[in-house]
């Protein structure tokens, strides 16, 4: 245990303390402030749990979470099974398509579905056109729409986890069940599914937490009685009404606590439930079945159905982006490049900001993430597990909590929020786990003997790192870099609290333009541009090698 490692750890802890622990503790402290007396106390919390309105929003959110989890599970289990087990054509294409929503900004989907499924959207107009219905059907404004949109967005987490689980099960378990005479269904429910619980839970917890994080989708759909939306409204509409502000902060803290405890619970549960097979029967591919023609065509129909829903997002946004005044007609009729001209030539600031902020965040991410990964994997510095733990927890923190805590912590005392550097810093803090996971898992795969050889031959630690470790790590790190960039690029729930005039990023521009109604072509063009950029970045990842991505993403481990 060298002194260098310890001072490195101390330095990294300092950064964490400054960017994570300090702001979040300010947030918690603030929630105990009493507006009336100027004192402190738990009055706000008592009010929160006694006020029928807040309680209702809390229960609503729990209910929504349950519904979203149920929906994603019901649709995700067969999908994951098909993807992992059936031998079929187009596996790569379908997998990529179904995973697409992870990288798309959540609100882009909302806008696309409003254009498509709205009261006078494409579907309703077509139905009315052929005379099937007289008055438009309400597809999405309401709980059903919220569940649909959030489920589609979160579906990849379930599918990714489960399909990895299905692949990694030792086939001999299932074969044993079959030999003992268990039917297909019985085997599936008593052997296969239980073996997959750990990998399922890893994704499920993220799905369940999403409604506690996403304030924007409910707001756009006009369903505001949910915890994050109420917190957003309380904080961003009432910042001089101190009591309201504190109540909003209480709502943020409560949802953070829910998120973190569920996250930890799932982690503990998974740890306990982890199954270990003694045999070494796992084939590289897992168990792959050649299904009957009927089952196979059913599987295709099912996959195509989901893929179409996902593809609607880029297609609808693309149509809206290249047209103007697409209302009251099922498909646009007036084609133009005007929207893109406006974005690219008249207000290039948004694109510039997006690249600048995400780019700087990325540089911070690399400068911080690599040493952390090194510390965690290669050293025995005390407290390294805690470091890993704190950073991983950031996955569970709602964006609104980070945004609000930053504006509280860095406005007066340390006036960082008055300079634009706060934007990349916040993006860095929020998206750090994404980079760390990649760096971490590629470090694990690097044989230490190579580094040892270098050190034995007389190279110093730093030289070894740059000459040996870094080039070997490059693939994993690059995937991490691109993934981090994508996630920082589409971030809105933290940035929306911190931006000032001139600091708007693309996601914020989309949100603002959509709200100004007439400009939804511009909003769509911005969203389309984001999708294109994201897609190009995804292609880059796939060139470099996506295995690292999958391993680090969530549920890749067996």
């Amino acid at each position: 245990m060298s002194r260098g490692n310890i001072s490195l750890a101390a330095l990294l802890w300092l950064v964490i303390a400054f960017l994570v622990i300090y702001p979040l503790s300010i947030l918690v402290l603030e929630s105990f402030k009493i507006a009336k007396t100027g004192g402190w106390g738990i009055g706000n919390y008592i009010e929160f749990f006694q006020d029928a309105y807040y309680l209702k929003t809390f229960v609503n959110t729990l209910f929504l979470s349950t519904l979203v989890l149920l929906t994603t599970t019901v649709f995700g289990v067969p999908l994951a099974y098909i993807l992992a087990r059936y031998r079929h054509w187009g596996k790569t294409v379908f997998t990529a398509l179904i995973l697409l929503p992870i990288v798309l900004p959540a609100f882009a989907g909302v806008f696309a579905f409003i254009i498509f499924f709205g009261k006078y959207g494409t579907v309703n107009l077509l139905l009315m056109g052929i005379g099937l219905v007289e008055k438009p059907i309400n597809f999405i404004y309401g709980l059903q729409g919220l569940v649909f949109i959030q489920s589609l967005h979160m579906l990849p987490f379930i599918v990714l986890g489960l399909s990895a689980g299905f692949t990694n099960i030792d086939p001999s378990f299932e074969e044993a069940a079959e030999v003992e005479g268990a039917s297909g269904f019985r085997r599936f429910f008593t052997v296969t599914l239980p073996l997959c619980t750990p990998s399922y839970l890893a994704g499920a917890v993220l799905v369940f937490l999403w409604p506690f994080t996403d304030w924007l989708t409910p707001l756009i759909l006009g369903q505001v009685d949910f915890l994050p939306s109420v917190a957003y409204i309380n904080i961003s509409y009432h910042f001089t009404d101190m009591h309201r502000k504190y109540m909003g902060i209480v709502a943020v803290v409560v949802s953070s606590i829910v998120c973190i405890s569920l996250f930890l619970l799932a982690r503990w549960w998974v740890e306990k439930k982890k199954y270990t097979g003694l045999s070494k029967g796992t084939t590289s591919e897992g168990r792959v079945i050649e299904p009957s023609a009927l089952v196979k065509s059913g599987a295709y129909v099912y996959m195509i159905f989901i893929a179409i829903l996902v593809l609607l997002i880029p297609i609808v946004l693309g149509l809206a982006a290249f047209s103007r005044r697409w209302v009251f007609e099922p498909f646009p009729t007036y084609w133009t490049l005007e929207n893109f001209r406006l974005i690219l030539l008249e207000s290039p600031g948004l694109i510039k900001n997006s690249f600048l902020f995400s780019g700087i965040a990325l540089i911070f991410g690399i400068a911080f993430g690599l040493p952390v990964a090194y510390l965690i994997v290669r050293t025995r510095v005390p407290g390294k597990d805690a470091l890993d733990f704190v950073i991983t927890l950031m996955l569970a923190f709602p964006g609104i909590a980070i945004g609000v805590s930053y504006i509280l912590a860095f406005w007066k005392g340390i006036p960082l929020a008055q300079y634009w550097i706060i934007m990349p810093i916040a993006l860095f803090a929020r998206r750090l786990p994404y980079f760390l996971r990649m760096a971490h898992s590629s470090y694990l795969q690097l044989d230490p003997s190579l580094e040892e050889a270098s050190e034995v031959s007389g190279a110093g630690k730093i030289r070894t790192f740059f000459n040996i470790s870094l080039p070997l790590l490059l693939k994993g790190v690059l995937v991490g870099v691109v993934m981090f960039f994508i996630m920082a690029f589409q971030e809105i729930s933290t940035a929306v609290f911190l931006y000032k005039g001139g600091w708007e990023t693309l996601p914020i521009g989309i949100y603002l333009n959509w709200h100004r109604g007439m400009e939804f072509g511009i909003a769509a063009a911005m969203a389309f541009l984001m999708i294109v950029i994201t897609f190009i970045l995804l292609l880059i990842i796939s060139r470099i090698g996506g295995g690292v991505l999958k391993a680090a993403w969530g549920a890749g481990e067996n």
Partner: protein, 472 residues
């Protein structure tokens, strides 16, 4: 389980790697050939360096641009994007022409009037902008009362009337001046109403007709100044009791609450909900210009809103701020106001003249208003007590939120039950049953609902009325 932690057993790792590479082939293409690896890594390294360099090149102009000191000005306020874009364009051109220098303009629109006002309050005496751009008289009166704005009399100030039909159009102490007047209206989508076979609602009371249930939208008074003004109009025109009764009944007609008045506009323009309450008058003009089939509705009781501008106290760029104000009230500036889809405020403006001078929006403004200048409009306004409105600004917003918005679900179910029981009583009456007791009880329920806003109690009373109907 790598989502949480990767197990650190080297054996297991080796196994894992094999599996992962196969997963790669599912999701992404990846080559495992070791001899290629080295070349590949070199390429990646080169690509990385290249990317980093090109990114640095991209960033260069940004930093160099900041070195070159241009004059600066910041606006904060609730004006729409079209206006801020038009004024930015106009003022930049004017500044360049007059001072031979560029001016950097930042504009923030944190939300509707109340939100903008709160933003300025939150800044304390150290504003992050120079000009409060937009919002009606009550917002500016609050700013004045709290000492957040300072007086300035721009050139051309005399061309704006001091008051109109009893509404103050500019402050006597030069603290705020109206640059774009408008009237509080409602908005409807004529195409959608036609599809739904509904007539356009002409008056406030028309909106309570059950045929419109679920086809109306408005926002919360704290999210939008226009909505706040609409409530204030109702209170001042119909009296406190009647207004709150009306608002409760109107709330039961809503499809939903929107997040702001711009959200209302887009919902109506796109037909998602055909009738929008509390809209600035020029919204219909702007939306029609963009090809949306919407029209405004001047309700029988309404007011003028003097969209005003003021210089913030402690403004970091006060001198540029004053230049902007002078320009805003010049003929040139006022043209950019109209091009920004707001009505211009000077009395010496004729839309017909401007149309000849090539101001594109002049034609649309004339068509929307039916007169040649905004001040030629003949409307019947209510007597508006600005002082009273300013004083109870927060109180009204809060009352609406706590008594109507937060109990919206309860409110609706209560009213629907009352209506149901009323229907049953009428049916019973037709069958010549004795309904006297039930009728008295349901009247009590209505009063509890409309006057006291006690929705749960009203519901209970309605249930009792129903019971009385069966066994009097």
């Amino acid at each position: 389980m790598a989502g949480f932690r990767v197990v650190d057993l080297p054996r297991k790792l080796l196994q894992q790697e094999v599996i992962q590479d196969n997963e790669i082939s599912i999701f992404f293409k990846c080559d495992n050939v070791t001899s290629k690896e080295v070349i590949m890594r070199k390429r990646i390294l080169t690509a990385t360096i290249f990317t980093a360099l090109s990114m640095a090149l991209m960033l260069l102009p940004i930093f160099s641009a900041e070195v070159q000191a241009a004059d600066k000005i910041g606006w904060v306020g609730p004006v729409y994007k079209e206006l801020s874009a038009s004024l930015t364009k106009g003022f930049k051109a004017y500044y360049k022409k007059t001072y031979g220098k560029d001016v950097d303009i930042t504009f923030v629109r944190p939300g509707g009037w109340p939100v903008c006002l709160d933003k300025v309050r939150a800044w304390g005496g150290k504003p992050d902008a120079d000009i409060f751009l937009g919002a009606g008289a009550p917002a500016h009166e609050v700013l004045k009362k709290e000492g957040l704005i300072v007086p300035y009399k721009p050139k051309g100030w005399d061309m704006v009337p001091a008051d109109w039909h009893g509404m103050k159009v500019k402050d006597k102490g030069d603290l705020w001046t109206c640059f774009a007047p408008w009237i509080v209206t409602n908005l409807y989508n004529e195409k959608v109403l036609k599809i739904l076979k509904l007539p356009a609602p002409k008056t406030w009371n028309d909106l309570l007709n059950p045929i419109y249930r679920g086809n109306i939208v408005h926002t919360l008074p704290y999210a939008s100044g226009t909505m706040h003004e609409a409530i204030e109009i109702l209170i001042q025109a119909f009296g406190e009791k009647e207004a709150w009764r009306y608002l409760r009944l109107l709330a039961a007609q809503l499809a939903r609450f929107s997040t702001g008045s711009t959200d209302t506009t887009q919902l109506v323009a796109r037909g998602e909900i055909p009738i929008g309450i509390a809209q600035p008058q020029m919204n219909a003009m702007a939306a029609r210009k963009d090809g949306f089939p919407v029209r405004d509705l001047l309700p029988e009781k309404t007011i003028l809103v003097p969209e005003a501008v003021a210089l913030l106290k402690g403004a970091p760029n006060e001198a540029v701020g004053k230049i902007f104000l002078d320009w805003l009230f010049s003929m040139d500036g006022q043209k950019y106001v109209l091009e920004g889809r707001y009505f211009a405020a000077r009395t010496d403006i004729k839309f017909s003249v401007w149309e000849k001078e090539g101001v594109e929006m002049a034609k649309h403004a004339q068509k929307a208003l039916g007169v040649d200048s905004f001040w030629d409009l003949k409307v019947d306004f209510i007597e508006y007590d600005l002082e009273l409105a300013t004083k109870r600004w927060d109180e009204v917003n809060k009352k609406y939120e706590y008594e109507i918005y937060r109990k919206w679900g309860e409110l609706k179910s209560s009213l629907f039950l009352i209506e149901e029981v009323e229907g049953e009583i009428n049916a019973a009456k037709a069958e010549k049953m004795d309904v006297a007791k039930a009728e008295a009880k349901i009247k009590e329920a209505r009063d509890l609902f409309e006057i006291d806003g006690k929705y749960a109690a009203a519901r209970l009373a309605a249930a009792k009325a129903r019971a009385l109907l069966v066994s009097p």
